[in-house]
């Protein structure tokens, strides 16, 4: 792991891995969309609207995973001063924010025909909305503070404090009475879904995961280049 602390070595690795990561992502999406839109049956109660689950649930999974990734990278940056960790955390934020927005928006599109409302302030929806605000806050800190070192430290602390929201999101449906249904895949005792629905969901989950990994690598590379560009511009300004 430590050998990839060298940004040049990491960039070479990304150049090597990225085309394959894109290939895997496209293949998984092609299979996942075929299973979701063509093969998966209608639900006996929800009818065709059950298909929203195949884009809503993976988006929610990745929204949580991206935050966990951001928080772990922030912890590594604070504890070990790994030179890429703060950039990895920063790179994950806009991606995580997009997936969180998608989880909220597609959930709303699913809620209207099934619950009769676009939105309710129940524990699951509210805690997901808080996650979205945490992402926006984290991004705002990086934009608001000029000194990257100071911005990284403050953003890392915010990311770590915000971690408390992750178990709240996960267990909100168990701890409180919510309109949102309880967990049906990631639960003790195994999934409650029929394989005909579970398989497309897991393939779409894998596709979203592959997309997240690919985009995260691309974003980290961009952050490395942005940092190098800033250093070169500062050096040039010192010369003048």
């Amino acid at each position: 792991m430590q050998q990839f602390a060298n940004p040049r070595r990491f960039l070479r690795l990304v150049d090597l891995v990225e085309p394959w990561a894109w290939a895997v992502t496209v293949i998984l999406f092609a299979i996942g969309l075929y299973l979701s839109l063509v093969v998966a049956p209608q639900d006996y109660q929800q009818g065709e609207t059950v298909r929203i689950m195949f884009v809503h649930v993976p988006a929610a999974w990745i929204a949580l995973l991206a935050y966990l990734d951001m928080a772990i990278a922030s912890a590594v940056a604070i504890i070990f001063r790994h030179p890429l960790a703060d950039l990895a955390a920063k790179a994950a934020a806009p991606i995580g924010a997009c997936f969180t927005f998608l989880a909220l928006a597609t959930g709303s599109l699913w809620g209207k025909p099934m619950w009769g409302t676009w939105w309710v302030w129940d524990a699951r929806l509210t805690s997901m909305f808080v996650l979205f605000l945490l992402y926006l806050g984290y991004i705002a800190i990086w934009h608001a503070i000029d000194d990257p070192g100071r911005a990284a430290r403050i953003a890392a602390i915010v990311a770590l404090v915000g971690c408390i929201n992750l178990p709240i999101i996960k267990f909100s449906v168990d701890w409180w009475n919510t309109l949102h249904q309880p967990a049906s895949v990631l639960r003790i005792g195994g999934p409650t879904l029929h394989p005909a629905i579970l398989t497309p969901l897991l393939v779409m989950g894998a596709a979203y995961l592959a997309l997240f990994v690919t985009l995260h690598l691309t974003a980290i590379r961009a952050e490395i280049m942005a940092r190098r560009l800033r250093q070169m511009e500062l050096a040039r300004a010192d010369e003048v």
Partner: protein, 58 residues
């Protein structure tokens, strides 16, 4: 998929929005990478020194 089923507009809206947001994210990241890479190449072509090199200079 039953194209006569009720609420199908919500299904298409969910898939369309997902496609739009994810495609936008991909395009934004690729554009940012390309812009930064071009700016770096221009600076390197003009012989801009690295900050460390400046710091190490006597």
């Amino acid at each position: 998929m039953d194209l006569a089923a009720p609420h199908l507009g919500f299904v298409f809206a969910a898939y369309g929005l997902s496609l739009l947001v994810l495609l936008g994210l991909v395009l934004w990241l690729r554009h940012r990478s390309r812009t930064l890479s071009r700016a770096l190449q221009q600076l390197e072509a003009h012989g801009a020194p690295r900050r460390r090199a400046v710091a190490e200079a006597p």
